[in-house]
Symmetry: C2
Subunit: 199 residues, 2 copies
């Protein structure tokens, strides 16, 4: 087990979230993965906080989306998170843990359950809708149940993704500064190296 220290980029990211918090989309970022046939894939997802006190980034998703297939085949992803008000970009690359209901680790299942209850009742309903990406049947609007027992635990389609960052590239377009952070592990202690680079 490794000792972790709070990463220096984490405070920058928390500052950006704070200074852009008036914007609903400030918690949205783009997650790039690689498909099983070797093609780049990219989509918008929502930041669901850090895992406990760690540097790990949580994302909720539907087990039936292609990104699950991508990540099971090749578990690396890069987040690109652009803050439209402060003109800051974070590129965060790392390994993604896919935690669905079949996970054998009871701690991870607890995490998934916590993520489920932390999400709004409305967003929970999405996971009861028809298979994302499959052809819509007929012209009627998508049928989703209108309510769900608020005490009911995660449904089968609910999946928690946890990205463990190993490199962060921070760019500030107002100050024209760029810093690259990279994780180092020595004697089971994690530390972060940072370097100013040309923007």
């Amino acid at each position: 087990m490794c000792t972790t220290t709070t990463a220096p980029w984490k405070q920058l990211l928390l500052n950006s979230l704070h200074s852009n918090s008036n914007l609903r989309h400030s918690s949205y970022f783009q997650l790039a993965t690689i498909t099983p046939n070797g093609m780049p894939a990219n989509r918008t997802v929502v930041f669901r906080g850090f895992e406990n006190e760690t540097n790990k980034i949580q994302i909720n998703t539907d087990c039936r989306t292609h990104k699950i297939e991508d990540l099971k085949h090749w578990p690396f992803a890069e987040i690109c998170w652009y803050f439209t008000d402060s003109w800051e970009q974070f590129r965060i690359s790392g390994l993604v843990d896919v935690i669905d209901g079949s996970n054998p680790d009871s701690l991870k299942l607890q995490q998934r359950e916590k993520a489920w209850f932390d999400s709004s009742p409305k967003s929970r309903l999405q996971y009861l809708g028809p298979d994302p990406g499959l052809p819509s049947l007929g012209d009627q609007p998508v049928q989703v149940p209108s309510s769900l027992d608020p005490a009911a635990g995660p449904v089968a389609a609910f999946c928690l993704l946890v990205l463990d960052p190993h490199e962060v590239d921070y760019l500030n377009l107002k100050s024209n500064e760029r810093i690259c952070f990279s994780r180092m592990i020595a004697n089971e202690v994690i530390s972060w190296n940072s370097e100013k680079v040309n923007p």
Copy 2:
């Protein structure tokens, strides 16, 4: 040579650009590529219009950035373009043509020159700055020349990327509609198939 028709997703995209045009960042999107060692990479870039009357998407970039290495190794990319005001997402995947000053095709060199002169004098100056991504020297701010002859053609570092879309996944989070467009070529005629799918 193929006959092209205006893609049905292009009008949707033009509408989104129009309805979000009050926002500076509406022309920004995220471009995912794959690095030579097989890792996903993702960064924000700026939309520089369509190539003439085609469906091809133009991006200006610096030859010295990693994305050039990525694309020369594996020329596929996926754009994720989220419009923050209209809540629409376009995922656009395709093949990318990397047009730098050494390109043997004179028509492509003309295109690159046009892209250079279409960009603002201020943005042209960026290409004269130090090597992006390399360590900054000292603590002084980045040195960039303060002016450039407005009639001077593209500098060596200037590169035009042209993405030729073959699939577009459109999602509207307000109407909860999603449409997948895919390109088909038959008898040298390009057409687009569209299908409503579950969001």
